[in-house]
Symmetry: C2
DNA sequence: TTGAAAGCGCTACCAA
DNA sequence: TTGGTAGCGCTTTCAA
């Protein structure tokens, strides 16, 4: 490993001088700079971030905590924060919590042990005591809360929009799927849809689900049609479940969207790959990730007048599982 | 921040002693140990990994380099390595390279700057000069090569299996999709299928694709049926493309699997969510990730007699896009 | 069985 | 404009 000392020797100057040209601060003569630069190039010198981090008490690392990258909504989110964070020279320490508080704790500990400068968390279990104790800039992603800076999309509006769409397209027997209780954004959209449905004059049923896993999605779908066989429209709790419902309907010989309309939520990439392509409410996941990163970086830099709550708009994407009016 | 010094003071011992109980090495008296433990608990002490890393010249971090986590095959892989690595107390520094050599370089630099103990790379652009210069334990994932430790699945066999399956089920006009040229595993499976097809007495066409993106998949599918309208079986380059082909076929009024059979590759989770559910060749992605992590850790520990090339078996998953014989 | 102290690579203060 | 050096928090020798 080539250190700052080696560079100093090669250039015939002191380590202090090398440090100065490295960090572009303090006075350093033009030709001294040149000598040092040359020495650095010769030796392929690259500063040791660990040593820097130790002294400055902060690294160029940012912690990203996710529930599970395996869930298709999160890779987009993650990519958004990564790309944005990279722009500013930061890198990501990644953790999947599986909604397990212990794992979350462990990761947070790792983050501080490694001097991360900030963290973004897309976890559902915001342990307030824990996060309050945290001395780090933190932004919550895909979560709405008063207590911490956060970026999220308008779940209530999304739910309303989903319901409104289904309503306008003449559904008579709507089944509203309620996502897992501990997933806050799922509850928001549920409430939004609920509001809209309650105001309208239609029959509807509520079908509760307790997970978002691929494996379970198919079972929920089966159960739904068994329980509510005359359903002619379902507002799914997310796209995965929506696609499962779609295929279950197809299996049962229903025509889509003539007999059953379906609207999903999220707009994960594979929506357009379902057949018929799933209509859905789009959350701008990649953009959410980017904005979360931007916000975090502003917080890290202690900028003034930063808006600590960013709500991104949600959008109807009409594809082929809703009627064309 | 509470440091080892604070603990030492609280316990009335020296920092050296605290360090000893922390690392469970060297002699330390039973009651001294107890005092120290208590002090650590009182102060909620958690050692600074950065300081440790600086002294030992290695962190508890492992670098993971991926092409793009947004591609549904990779989250599984990533999760596999994360889970395994966590078991041994390591954490992940994550990077997406987008198959861009410069980004890859930058990430690798970050990895060494942060004293990672090893890295796993699932990138296609193995720049040998670069990797050779690297002084780190490295394992290649989803890549077959003689030059570095690697874990991958048997692509050639997978290709053969896909072709064999299609052949046995009575296809007459097969279209074999060839994946992007720079993606080595895609070429392996292509070659395998090609071998099998060449030996058989059937007509077949080769259709070349240059990307794996969601957006492009649909275009490939359209183009395929325009170019080869009498195709009655397609061996897709991966599941995404397979699903796109499936839906394009459906759009064109073909019955699946009666008129057209389709076989994918990878077995990403959303396969079972397509309709009809996509038959495919399964790569054990999660397991591949785990094994890569295990191998890397063995390498890090300089264990002897470790098998540096791990080939995992591939497996036919018959669902509904291939005939039942 | 314990403590003092050097040193990991770097930054930043103070002096020259 | 430069260099010497203390010190970031930890581990590990060496001595006691």
């Amino acid at each position: 490993m080539v250190t700052i000392k080696d560079v100093a020797k090669e250039a015939g100057v002191s380590v202090a001088t090398v440090s100065r040209v490295l960090n572009e601060n303090g006075y350093v003569g033009a030709d001294t700079r040149k000598k040092v630069m040359k020495a650095m190039a010769n030796l392929h010198y690259s500063p040791n971030e660990v040593a820097r981090s130790l002294y400055k008490r902060e690294s160029r690392l940012i912690g990203l905590l996710l529930p599970d990258i395996t869930n298709p909504f999160f890779p987009q989110l993650a990519r958004g924060v990564e790309d944005e964070v990279n722009k500013e020279g930061y890198r990501l320490l990644l953790g999947n919590s599986d909604e397990d508080v212990q794992k979350e704790l462990d990761y947070i500990q790792t983050f501080v042990q490694n001097n991360v400068v900030g963290m973004v968390s897309a976890t559902n279990t915001v342990d307030h005591e824990l996060y309050n104790a945290l001395q780090l800039p933190l932004v919550l992603l895909d979560r709405t809360t008063e207590d911490y800076p956060s970026v999220y999309s308008d779940g209530r509006e999304g739910g309303r929009l989903a319901a409104k769409t289904i309503l306008e397209k003449g559904a008579r027997h709507i089944t509203l799927m309620k996502g897992p209780a501990h997933v806050k954004p799922a509850q928001d959209r549920y409430k939004g849809a609920m509001e809209m449905l309650s105001e309208a004059e239609v029959d509807f049923s509520v079908f509760s689900t307790y997970s978002y896993s691929f494996e379970d999605a198919t079972s929920w779908a089966k159960e739904l049609f068994t329980k509510y066989p005359d359903t002619d429209a379902v507002i799914a709790s997310n796209d995965i479940v929506g696609i499962a419902v779609l295929h279950e309907a197809l299996k049962r010989g229903k025509r889509i969207p003539e007999d059953v309309q379906i609207i999903g939520y999220d707009d994960i990439p594979q929506c357009s790959l379902s057949y018929p392509a799933l209509s859905t409410i789009r959350q701008p996941a990649y953009e959410m990730g980017r904005q979360a990163a931007q916000l975090l970086i502003k917080l890290i830099r202690k900028e003034n007048d930063v808006d600590k709550t960013i709500q991104l708009p949600v959008q109807l994407v009409e594809r082929s599982t809703t009627r064309k009016e």
